[in-house]
Structure formats: structure tokens, C-alpha cells
């Protein structure tokens, strides 16, 4: 045992003095994380969501002019958002205030934001086909124009990012269509209520003098009759419903509440002030990938032992083959674990990455990945005879495995079939475990445990192969 520790201490000392390895194992992954983190788009690292995000600021105070109204019973902005959130392909994000919205647009983090102005409800409520005001109702507002609904006139301000015009236009179109669905039934409903009412009949009497001959009781009954007749004639529609669902007699959408996600500024507590979610993906991905670069370090250590002739001395010394291999294994494992934890701590301190709710499990995952990486490193080190062979075998293998496993991209973006294939690499298991711990608010520890077991299995297989194939002669 003393001999193994002596060997391990010597190799650890050599590794610490090896600036080339320090650069590969510590500085390169950090540099990659920084570069990729800064280069990645806003949605990087977030779960894939094909729905269109529609960001809104609601300043609408919900007040209306004129007599109290039973409809809609809530601010008109909420009616709008309910309609919008019912669309399967749209998700609504509520931004707390106009200043935040303007900053997000300025920083190109949102292509467009809808702002419901303070008097939005008042304006929508006053929408009418009438051309003149009929007290106590307020002055009628005509929101329609040739291209549809004039959202400006309704008190909706659209903030647009000039660099993302297409996305902004799509959002504007969505807002227009939604407003049509909200305003048109309201206007039709209000108009249809007027059919047959006293003023309507008075107007008819003026235009059709014979109406004046009818007794007042008949005229009173005739009004609703006209309304009912029109209703029967166009029975597919309910002209008094005032909502799109009611008007079209369509089924009301399930869930009458507004599904709005709250905007999170994704603050990064680290030194690089970018959204923290990207680091949750980038740091573990590159940590796993670069932990396997231990193959190079360990390989070079072995080759150097041959090249310097010291392997002959070790073989001539009172050491068993097991002791020599274990003496190599221990420092590589320690260096790998240090590297893994170093990158996790750097992720926390520099990038503001969160360690999640089960941070205690992170060292376990790091140790498991290290074990697998060390096994592979020992296998390659045992097979390669020269530094060039180590560099070629090691780099090719590490990059290939990283590519297959999804270390070079968010695994969520991989097709399912490729994801299944990726489990032939130890990296994929490590990434799964880190994904659970770092991105899942309630990590599934069973998945983490399975991944750790798989990693240990990989490590054992690699070690057995290394034991069988390594030639010390």
C-alpha cells in the first residue's frame, strides 16, 4: 500500500507541475463555457417549447365609462389574455412593467411586447358600431379599419425590436386576430341588443310611417319578435353573446383562467451577467466532456514513464503490476475529481450557476464521472505507445463520445433515437444526472442513482480492459 501511495504522490506532483494538463483540464473548459455562453442565443438551455411566446405588460386599470356592465365582469385585458392563452400554440409571459419591457426589447431579448395601456378596458368597452354617443354610454369608438383592428386605437402599444421584425410582425398579427375575436362579438352583441328596442322602433316609425299606426303594446312586442326572428334565421350564431365562443356557439375552452407565466429576469449572480439557465446546461456539459480529456493527461503520464525509462525502474522495483496500475489510477482519479468540482464551483462563482436543491449529490456524480473517465484514460494510456498516439486516440475518442452523448449541444435538442444511442457513452449518463440535479427543480434521485451506477459500470469495464490489455514491457 505504501508503494502505491508513493507512486500516486509522485504522479500527483508531476501532474501539478504539468502546465499543459492544467490548461487542458481547467482553463480550456472554462474558456469554452465563457465563449459558448456568450455566443448562445436567449433560448439556449431552456426546455424546448415550440409555442409562440407573447410577452405582455398589463397597465389596464379595468375601469369603464358609462353605466355599470355585467359583461365582461373582468378587465378587458384579462378577456384578451384568456382568449390568447386558450390558443394551443401560444404562451403568455407577463412582464412586470414597461421599463423592463423596454429594456428587454433594447437588449433584443424579446422581439415584441404588447402593452395594455391604462385605459384599455375603457376603450374596448366603448367600441360600438354606433356613430354617435347615446348617453349614458360613452362616445362610441370604432376600432375597425381596412386591415382589421387598429390596436393603437384600443390602447395597445406594441414595442418592437427593429432587429427582429419578422417575429414582431407575427406577434402583432396574433394580437390583431385576438382583438378581433374579443371586440367583434362585443360590438355585435351590443348592436344586436339594440334591435327592436324602443329607440330602434322609434327610428323605424320615422322611416316607415305605417309603423306609427300600430298600437304601443304591439310595437313593444314587435321589437323582441324581430330580434327572435333574426336569431332563428341565423341560428348558428348567438348575436347577443358578446364573446367569440358565444357568438359562434362554439364549445367554451376548458380552464377559464388565464395561463400566464411570469417573466423571470434569470439573474446571474456570477461575474458574467447573462441569463443563468445557459450555464446550467453549458457548465455540466463541458465539465463532462473535459473530464474525459483526462485520457490525454493520463496517457502522457504513461508515455512519459516509458520515454524517460522510468517504467523500467518501476518494473525492476519491488512493485507488482497491480501496484503500478493503481499508483497511476489514484492520482488520475483525484485530478479528475478536483477538475470536476473546480468547474462546478467555477460555474457557481463565475457564472452564477445554481447547484439545485440536491447539491449534496453533485460530488457523487462528479466522482462517478471521474471513475469512468479514469478507467477510459487508463485503457488508452495502456494501449498508446507514443505521445502522438495518445493525442490522436484521445482527442478523437473524447470528441466523438462528446458528440454522440450530447455534450456539445443541449441533450433536449437531440432526436429521441439519437438520445437512445447516446447511452452507449458514459457521458450521456453523466449529463442525465447533472441535468436532474441542475435543471430540475425537484430532481429525480432515482435517475441520478441509475446514472451513477451506469458510470461506475463503465469505469469497471474500462479498468478490466486496461488491466488485460496494458503492456508494461
Amino acid at each position: 500500500m505504501n508503494s502505491i501511495l508513493t507512486l500516486a504522490a509522485k504522479d500527483l506532483r508531476l501532474l501539478v507541475r504539468d502546465t499543459r494538463s492544467a490548461i487542458i483540464l481547467l482553463l480550456m473548459p472554462l474558456s469554452f463555457v465563457v465563449v459558448l455562453g456568450l455566443a448562445a442565443g436567449e433560448s439556449f438551455g431552456q426546455k424546448t417549447d415550440d409555442r409562440l411566446r407573447l410577452s405582455v405588460v398589463v397597465e389596464d386599470d379595468g375601469r369603464i365609462d358609462g353605466p355599470p356592465s355585467a359583461f365582461p365582469g373582468v378587465p378587458w385585458s384579462e378577456v384578451f389574455l384568456r382568449d390568447l392563452s386558450g390558443s394551443a400554440d401560444i404562451r403568455i409571459e407577463a412582464i412586470p412593467d414597461r421599463a423592463t419591457a423596454e429594456r428587454l426589447i433594447r437588449d433584443s431579448k424579446r422581439s415584441a411586447v404588447l402593452i395594455f395601456e391604462k385605459d384599455f378596458s375603457r376603450r374596448v368597452h366603448s367600441c360600438s358600431f354606433l356613430s354617435v354617443a347615446e348617453p349614458p354610454d360613452p362616445e362610441p369608438l370604432n376600432p375597425l379599419y381596412r386591415d382589421g383592428i387598429d390596436i393603437d386605437r384600443l390602447g395597445i402599444t406594441l414595442l418592437r425590436d427593429p432587429t427582429q421584425q419578422v417575429a414582431a410582425s407575427i406577434i402583432e398579427q396574433v394580437a390583431q386576430v385576438t382583438m378581433l375575436r374579443v371586440v367583434i362579438p362585443w360590438m355585435i352583441g351590443r348592436a344586436f341588443e339594440r334591435v327592436g328596442d324602443e329607440k330602434f322602433m322609434d327610428q323605424m316609425s320615422k322611416d316607415f310611417p305605417l309603423m306609427g299606426l300600430l298600437p304601443g303594446r304591439v310595437k313593444k312586442d314587435l321589437g323582441p319578435l324581430v330580434q327572435q326572428t333574426i336569431g332563428k334565421l341565423f341560428s348558428r350564431y348567438n348575436f347577443t353573446a358578446k364573446s367569440w365562443a358565444g357568438l359562434t356557439r362554439a364549445e367554451t375552452r376548458t380552464g377559464d383562467s388565464v395561463a400566464v407565466s411570469t417573466f423571470e429576469s434569470e439573474p446571474s449572480g456570477g461575474l458574467i451577467p447573462r441569463g443563468a439557465k445557459r450555464w446550467q446546461v453549458l457548465v455540466p456539459s463541458l465539465t463532462v466532456m473535459f473530464m474525459f480529456f483526462l485520457v490525454l493527461t493520463c496517457g502522457w503520464l504513461f508515455v512519459a514513464e516509458r520515454r524517460q525509462g522510468t517504467l523500467v525502474r518501476l518494473r525492476a522495483a519491488p512493485l507488482s503490476r497491480t501496484a503500478i496500475l493503481l499508483g497511476k489510477l489514484i492520482p488520475c482519479l483525484l485530478v479528475s475529481m478536483f477538475q470536476g468540482m473546480f468547474l462546478m464551483v467555477a460555474g457557481y462563482l463565475i457564472f452564477g450557476m445554481s447547484w439545485g436543491t440536491e447539491a449534496w449529490a453533485i460530488p457523487l456524480v462528479v466522482a462517478s464521472v471521474s471513475f469512468a473517465a479514469m478507467g477510459l484514460a487508463l485503457l488508452i494510456a495502456g494501449l498508446a505507445r507514443t505521445e502522438t498516439q495518445v493525442a490522436i486516440y484521445g482527442t478523437l475518442l473524447v470528441l466523438l463520445l462528446a458528440g454522440v452523448s450530447g455534450s456539445l449541444m443541449p441533450r433536449d435538442l437531440m432526436p429521441e433515437s439519437m438520445k437512445r444511442v447516446s447511452y452507449i457513452t458514459p457521458h450521456a449518463w453523466g449529463l442525465d444526472a447533472f441535468n436532474q440535479l441542475l435543471t430540475n427543480p425537484a430532481p429525480n434521485l432515482a435517475i441520478v442513482g441509475t446514472a451513477c451506477a451506469a458510470l461506475l459500470g463503465f469505469g469497471m469495464v474500462f479498468l478490466v480492459l486496461a488491466w488485460l490489455l496494458t503492456r508494461l514491457e
Binding site: L7, Q308, V312, A316, P318
Partner: protein
Amino acid sequence: MKPLALEVRQLRKSWGRSLALDSATFSVESGEVFGLLGPNGAGKTTLLSILSCLTSADAGEVLIEGEPLRRDDPAHKRLIGIGTQDLAIYSDLTPVENLRFFGRLYGLRGDDLDSRVEAMLELTELKDRARQRAGTFSGGQKRRLNLGVAMVHRPKILFLDEPTSGVDPQSRNHIFERVRRLAEEGTTIVYTSHYMEEVQTLCERIAILDRGRVVACDTLAGLLSLLDGAVTFSVDGDAMGLADALRSMPGLRVDAVDGSRVALAGADVSRMLMQVLDLLRSRRQNLTDLKLTEPNLERVFLHLTERTLRD
């Protein structure tokens, strides 16, 4: 007679179809400096690999202090030190770190380890560079450290394979001194070299290895006695009569007479020369040319192997 530190009996080893060692047999006494000579490919490296427990023999036996050498026996490995032909030190470690590391591998601990490291630093004269990385050293300094590392654990038998290869004369002399001192202290040394003069200077007995076989093993005098010396000279006047007179003298042989030139052979060159001079004086003849050829290891080697040492 001193006890035997090393006995090699009928050692045989093949690498594929190539026979590297063919019934090699010799023995080395305790505290002896034993020379191993042979051209490239003679089987020296294979022999040293077997003796250093790096590889196993196909047949034959090696005894260390009377006991059969077991390759995996740590106790046997502790008896052996190897000064490899190629350097075998960690260039990123200092001499102290190299010596401490190998000392610990051989079981040295505490004060014993400290004192051995100190002793080796003195022996190799690297005390003033003890804390500098070996990679920055000159070739000679690295060689000395290589030797120190081989001896740090007090081996009973030290195998030195071309220990002076590529070093300056100063370092070479330093190594010679250390080898002699080690032998005086009781360490048995098996020394291989391409340099005849080194082996002649250092070694009490010498084995000559050729094509895997030990073709001769004796003291230097014993090996030299295998060849005669030669005295070749020219005289004014009659050489034939002179040659006839020489033929009757003991301890020499007339090999050739050609005009005024005579070639003599014999074990003792000085004695032959005196005999020739006495005869010339008595016959009133004068020497016009003289060449003396002493038997040496190089000629013995050439004679035995029909190859030069650097073939």
C-alpha cells in the same frame, strides 16, 4: 575464495525465432567488479533484463547469493540495482525528489531514507543542485543522478549498463571512482561497456558475450594470455641468419622472414625485444625499423568473436 554473489547457469532466451541467449554461463564473486563485453546484439541487454527481473528466461537458472532468483519476489528485487544505459530519472523532479521516490519504493523510510538521500547526493556530487529539476542538468549530471537512483537502496548487486555513455571525461572519471568505492564497500558490480579501456581499468574478471554465448570468461591477464604479442623489425644486412639464430631461442616464434624484415610472436613482448637487441648487438647489426604489438582486450575480442566491439 569469496562467496558467489551471482551465478548464471545455462541461461537461454529467445525473442520469437531469434536466439538472444544460448546457454550463457558465468559467475560473479561477492564484491567483484565483473565486466560484460559484447558487440551490439550479443545478448547483453537480454541478459541484464533477466538478471534485473524485467523479463524471464526460457531455460536455465540464476542464483543470487546462492538462492534461485524469483522474478516477482520483492526481497530479491531489493538486492538488485540497475544503472540503465538510457537515463531513467524523472526530469520534472529534483534529485532529492527522485532519490526519495525510488528510496521509498524500495522500502526506505524516515532517517534511513534521509541519510541515504544525503549520501547519494554526496556520492553524485549533486548537493548544490539538489532542489533543481533534473531536466535542467547536463548529460553528465543526469548520468550521475541515474547512478545515484540505482544505488539509493543499497543493492547487493548493481548492474551498470554503459554507465558512461555520452558523458564528459570528468564525469566518467567520477563514475569510475564511485564504482571502485562501491566495490570496496562490498557491492557486487556487473559492468557492461563498449569502452575496452573502462573494462580493463575497472574489472577484475571479464566475460565476453557473442551471439548469446559466453565465449570467454577470465581475468584480464587470463584473457590476454589467449593471444601472443608481436615484435616486427627490419635490420641492415642478412635477416635470414638472424632469423635462424632467433628460432633457437626460447619463448618466441619466428612467424615470417621477408628480405630484411622479421616477424616474431610470443607471450612476453618485452622479453622478445631484449632477446632481439642482444642478438643484434652480438652480430653487429642495426635495427632500421621496429614495431611492438602487445596483446590487448580489443584483439582478444576480435580474435574470439571475429567482430569488433562496435559492430
